[in-house]
């Protein structure tokens, strides 16, 4: 049984992290590579880098960033943002990303998931699913949460897994940014409906939210951005509390603690 994973997410624009980062001692808070290495040293289990520029002309810059990150990090990381083709995926994997995420392009063309899984293996294909609760239940939204797709959340997650997604990254747009907790209920419905791991995202504000999404939500991993960037929650403390609540985590080693104290 693998440990439940803690995954900081870094939004990157033009090669720089965009959300405010309130770490002391960082040489350059906007440098995604330095920030990623810092999280790794703190005991993050994986990282996600999302290219929020995602315009075609800036893709080479993101691939270079991925390559630089891969040379420094000794933990796995996922790259995503605007991915719509096998070629784009190949570039990022060859640059050293362990996994990639697809979102809108997969909803518009579900066969893309099948093609990517066949070409690169399910283990590196994360399908990101953005959802909102509407009158008819949880619905999938695309284009960064701007467009309703008409697809039901559970139905789409099940199809994505069927087509070869290795993981589902589930973000409740209703919860994202609220710091009021993850959408544990729908996370549980999807975790029970798909055979692959579900990464919960959106809404983390307190340590108890992580406990809920693992215990009630059945998530295999939890992703967050601001609580880590602003230092509201430290990963060593988070992991200690999870362990104290009987949730299996990879503990932050003494060695990593010392690095952090530096």
């Amino acid at each position: 049984m693998p440990a439940k994973r803690i995954i900081p997410c870094l939004d990157v624009k033009e090669g720089r992290t965009v959300k405010g980062v309130h770490f002391t001692g960082l040489r350059d808070a906007g440098d995604p590579v330095e920030l990623g290495a810092r999280y790794a040293a703190q005991g993050a289990d994986e990282l996600v880098f999302l290219d929020i520029t995602a315009s075609i002309e800036n893709r080479p810059a993101f691939a270079r960033l991925v390559e630089e990150t891969a040379s420094v990090l000794n933990i796995p990381f996922t790259a995503g943002g605007g991915i719509s083709s096998c070629r784009h995926v190949e570039t990022l994997l060859r640059s050293g990303a362990d996994k990639i995420t697809v979102n809108t392009a997969a909803v518009l063309n579900p066969a893309l998931i099948s093609r990517l899984a066949a070409a690169f293996g399910s283990q590196c294909i994360v399908v990101a699913v953005d959802i909102r609760r509407g009158e008819s239940g949880w619905e999938v939204w695309t284009h960064g949460g701007r467009c309703p797709s008409g697809r039901g959340a559970v139905d789409w997650a099940a199809e994505a897994a069927d087509r070869g997604a290795g993981e589902i990254l589930l973000t409740s747009m209703d919860h994202d940014g609220t710091t009021n907790g993850f959408a544990a209920g729908i996370t549980r419905l999807i975790a029970d409906a798909v055979p692959v791991p579900v990464i919960a995202s959106g809404g983390a504000g307190r340590i108890s939210h992580f406990i809920d999404v693992f215990q009630q939500g059945g998530a295999e991993a939890a992703l967050a951005a601001s609580v880590f960037h602003y230092g509201t929650i430290g990963i060593p403390e988070l992991k200690e509390r999870l362990a104290a609540n009987g949730i299996p985590v990879r503990p932050v080693s003494e060695e990593r603690r010392e690095n952090e104290a530096d």
Partner: protein, 196 residues
């Protein structure tokens, strides 16, 4: 030290190369050329993706013929380890047959793929020198090799499976040492420098 990483299916060769850089071997070679592979002091055989297409690719590059004859230490990582076995349930694929065992799919009662950090137990072997029992390594796989006489390290995901195997000059690891933090780097260092 001439270290060659076999390139055959566009997998995670760069990640392995970067990890070797971090542990002090900056000049590793990534190659699909049998001549280059045969001359290596250490051969690393990584791999991600699906078994039958990976075997097809190895055959088309004629690397399938040289791997069983290598005399230098060889390390198969993840799919690379699975391809060193006699066959895989993935695509009903005959593999290289260095390890006599069959690769099986995980039972469906657990989340598959098995993704994330898991603890391993290991035998007393130079490969695991300096690595504690129950140390955490990073895994990502849907198929596994059952525990067998060649198993040198065991992990569990519903069932016990081989986290590492050894036979003569061949080593396989199901985990990704290149992504397993400092323990993974120690494992790679042991493979490169150690008496394996």
């Amino acid at each position: 030290m001439n270290i060659v990483i076999i390139e055959y299916n566009g997998g995670n060769t760069r990640s392995v190369q970067f990890a070797l850089q971090r542990i002090g071997f900056p000049k590793t070679v990534i190659s699909d050329d049998p001549t280059v592979i045969l001359q290596a002091d250490r051969v690393i055989f990584p791999g991600v993706g699906e078994a039958s297409s990976a075997m097809r690719r190895l055959r088309s590059l004629r690397i399938d013929r040289i791997i069983p004859d290598l005399k230098q230490p060889v390390l198969g990582i993840c799919l690379g380890m699975q391809l060193l076995c006699s066959g895989s349930a993935e695509g009903e694929t005959p593999c290289l047959g260095i390890f006599p065992d069959m690769v099986r799919r995980f039972p469906a009662d657990k989340k598959v793929p098995h993704i994330g950090w898991a603890r391993i137990r290991h035998a007393d072997s130079p490969l695991f020198r300096g690595i504690a029992q129950d140390e955490w390594f990073y895994f990502v796989h849907s198929y596994c090799v059952p525990v067998n006489p060649g198993t040198s390290s065991v992990c569990r995901h519903g069932v016990a499976f081989s986290a590492a195997m050894q036979k003569d000059n061949y080593t396989g690891c199901q985990f990704h040492p290149e992504k397993s933090g400092s323990a993974g780097e120690r494992f790679l260092t042991n493979f490169i420098k150690g008496d394996v």
